[in-house]
């Protein structure tokens, strides 16, 4: 049991991640040990304040989903530490104590058994694909009430009430007409609302939202984004918002972390980061976003080559091969440390 109340968890942080690393073995057989690894997440550090929202942005395959799954304990980290200050998690805490800041920090790796159940009430995840993330044979009620019923929370009547209430909150009204339908009777946007309801039904303090709108049409997308923002404010839920779309991250998040090949290369307040992008990758990413304005012209992004899977990458900067600013120093030095270049704006690059 690791209640480490004196850990260097940033004051007020709900969640603090330090040196988080996940490697996936490549080409492992039953009788052969893997010799090479995909460094899917490599030495990732950040924290998240209660009610805050952090956007995790980057190209496909850069490790965003892996970070999210590590946080909700769907995957075990290879190394690194995840500390939570979630109400009701530490043994001695009163579950409904509103002053979360006084919660002692709990190491995610030590959470198991009864504590894991408490954790599942506090940390939830919304999955990317609204079509595949619901069991086609279960009703909407079954799906949303699953966290309640597997954890034996409330009676059937309580659960039906609670599910109706949350359906109402996510805009599926009147709830009674949705409760006993099946996923295939709903549109993509409605399903994603159900997915959000399922994550929020237990009243979590922290939610990983893995590209919750990327599979949706424009019209339903806006509704979902507005909904999530409203709920975040009303319920005080903190989000890790995973997306490949900087514009969406801008709209949804207080802060943005840009990920490249398993590393966070830049992290800062949303507007600051978008106005003054410092890392060459962030700049390239930003200048590649098409503008919905036929008059404007956009410079091509300053970047070479293509993202490759980080299988046993060399020790230097991950971005070296594609970087327009790379120097001899970048070739010979290890991956650059993340430094605070201006207040709250951290960048991992030697040349910035």
């Amino acid at each position: 049991m690791a209640i480490t109340g004196t850990e260097p968890l940033h004051t007020g942080a709900l969640l603090s991640v330090a040196g988080l690393t996940k490697r996936f073995p490549v080409g492992r057989h039953l009788f052969r040990k893997a010799t090479s690894f995909i460094h899917a997440v490599d030495d990732v550090t950040f924290d998240l304040e209660p009610g805050g929202s952090l956007g995790l942005v980057g190209e496909s395959g850069c490790g965003k989903t892996t970070v999210g799954k590590l946080l909700v304990k769907l995957l075990e980290p290879t190394s690194g530490e995840i500390l939570f200050r979630l109400p009701g998690l530490a043994d001695h805490a009163v579950p409904d104590d509103p002053s979360e800041l006084n919660e002692p920090a709990v190491d995610s790796a030590s959470i198991e058994g009864r504590q894991l159940r408490a954790f599942r009430r506090r940390a939830q995840m919304i999955f990317q694909d609204p079509y595949e993330s619901m069991n086609p044979r279960r009703t909407i009620y079954d799906t949303i009430a699953e966290p309640l019923s597997v954890q034996g929370m409330g009676t059937l009547l309580d659960r039906v009430d609670r599910v109706s209430e949350i359906l109402d909150q996510v805009g599926l009204t009147p709830p009674a007409t949705f409760l006993f339908r099946h996923p295939h009777e709903l549109s993509g946007g409605q399903r994603q609302r159900v997915a959000i309801a399922r994550a929020l039904v237990v009243g979590p303090s922290f939610v990983v939202a893995d590209e919750p709108t990327s599979m949706l049409d424009v019209s339903s997308r806006t509704g979902i984004m507005n909904l999530m923002q409203g709920l975040a404010q009303d319920l005080g839920v903190a989000y890790l918002y995973v997306t490949h779309d900087l514009a969406v991250a801008r709209y949804m998040c207080h802060r943005i972390a840009v990920m490249y090949s398993g590393k966070i290369v830049e992290i800062g307040e949303t507007e600051e980061l978008l106005k003054n992008p410092r890392h060459p990758y962030t700049r390239a990413l930003l200048s590649a976003v098409p503008l919905p304005d036929p008059g404007s012209t956009r410079e091509p992004p300053d970047i070479r080559g293509e993202l490759t899977a980080p299988i046993d990458p060399p020790a230097r900067c991950r971005f070296f091969d594609r970087c327009p600013m790379a120097t001899e120093n970048c070739r010979t030095s290890p991956h650059p440390p993340t430094e605070e270049k201006s207040p709250g704006h951290w960048v991992a690059c030697y040349e910035v």
Binding site: R250, P292, E306
Partner: protein
């Protein structure tokens, strides 16, 4: 109407397509008309299921078994393409109109080398006399789309998604078509790769003076690469015009909502407007204007009659209360009075400006 010899490169008139399903007839394309000149880039945008791919497939004469062409005509250089015989269709497809299919990067055959697949396409259409000439041509195409010709003898799985997509574009270009249809050419690709492919497509189009139709649900992509835009809703082409005009001053409330629902990385961080409700069921679409259940400007007549075209210069929209006709929708009484005297179309045409 007789075929026009001196007309535009591609002329689509009143195209109407149905799919026969167990549930009933899907009205996938409803009376779509537009024209395309040489060297022009047209964007077709709209929500998923609004019939964009169905339009493209009709232009290619590549329709599934359960599709039924319920009306309309398509002329390419004055020739009626629905009148072509089967063997002429083969020649027409790829040599005159080529298509980059939706999710095409997964359509390369994994067991053949990428270059070989394009060489075969060229041979099948007898573009080049010899294999070495065909290979020479593929190498040129590879350079054109920004791929190293040395990659010709690699297998698809050795390519990244972006490289595969470029190879597919090279294949579409291989027979010098007059028109290229690119159906969501960059959806599912990352922005950096998307940027490159769009730039290359645009450069090639200008270099070869081709006509191109971009299909996308992402209006920002269309804004950047096209000069004409058509907005589709529930099988109808509801707005059409110069891209710049449509973006500056959309006429149709749907276009307006579409433009308002995209977040942007630049400029003011404004609240997203968005649309309420769901796109209609195309088996049983709403009467009158198909957009009326979701439209903030809808009035009684919108529920009853399909709207006429309202013009604004070269731009038009099929709407009873287009956005240029004042901030508020006219009242029902006004509207009925107007339609009684039968001046709606003309007045919409003359208004605004």
């Amino acid at each position: 109407m007789a075929a026009k010899i001196n007309g535009p490169l591609l002329k689509v008139e009143d195209l109407t397509l149905r799919y026969l399903t167990r549930g009933g007839e899907v009205r996938a394309v409803e009376g779509v008309s537009f024209e395309l000149e040489q060297g022009q880039a047209l964007g077709l945008v709209g929500e998923s299921g609004c019939g964009k791919t169905s339009v493209a497939n009709s232009l290619m004469r590549l329709l599934p078994d359960n599709a039924r062409l319920a009306g309309g005509q398509v002329w390419l250089r004055g020739e009626d393409i629905f009148a072509l015989e089967e063997d002429e269709v083969r020649e027409y497809r790829w040599r005159r109109v080529a298509m980059v299919f939706q999710a095409a990067m997964n359509s390369l055959d994994p067991v053949y080398k990428v270059g070989q697949q394009i060489v075969e396409a060229i041979e099948a259409h007898e573009i080049e006399g010899t294999i070495s000439a065909a290979r020479e041509r593929v190498a040129r195409l590879f350079r054109l789309v920004g791929l190293d010709p040395a990659l010709m003898d690699r297998y698809p799985h050795e390519f990244s998604g972006g490289m595969r997509q470029r190879a597919v574009i090279a294949m579409a270009l291989s027979c010098d078509p007059a028109v290229i249809i690119a159906d969501e050419p960059t959806t599912a690709l990352d922005v950096i790769v998307q940027d490159r492919i769009l730039r290359e497509l645009k450069a090639i189009q200008q270099q070869l003076n081709m006509a191109i139709i971009y299909i996308s649900h992402d209006i920002a992509v269309v804004a950047e690469v096209t000069d004409r835009i058509g907005v589709m809703y529930a099988g109808h082409l509801v707005e059409y015009g110069n891209t710049a005009d449509v973006f500056r001053a959309p006429l149709h409330p749907y276009t307006d909502a579409l433009l308002g629902s995209f977040p942007s990385v630049t400029g003011e961080r404004r609240p997203l407007a968005g649309l309420s409700g769901e796109p209609p069921n195309l088996i049983d679409p709403p009467a009158g204007c198909p957009f009326h259940p979701r439209c903030p400007r809808a009035t009684q007549i919108c529920q009853e009659e399909f709207p006429p075209q309202a013009w604004e210069g070269t731009q038009w929209a099929k709407c009873w209360h287009p956005m240029n006709a004042g901030a508020e929708a006219p009242s029902d009484v006004e509207l009925e009075a107007a339609s009684d005297v039968g001046i709606v179309e003309q007045s919409a045409h003359g208004e605004g400006g």
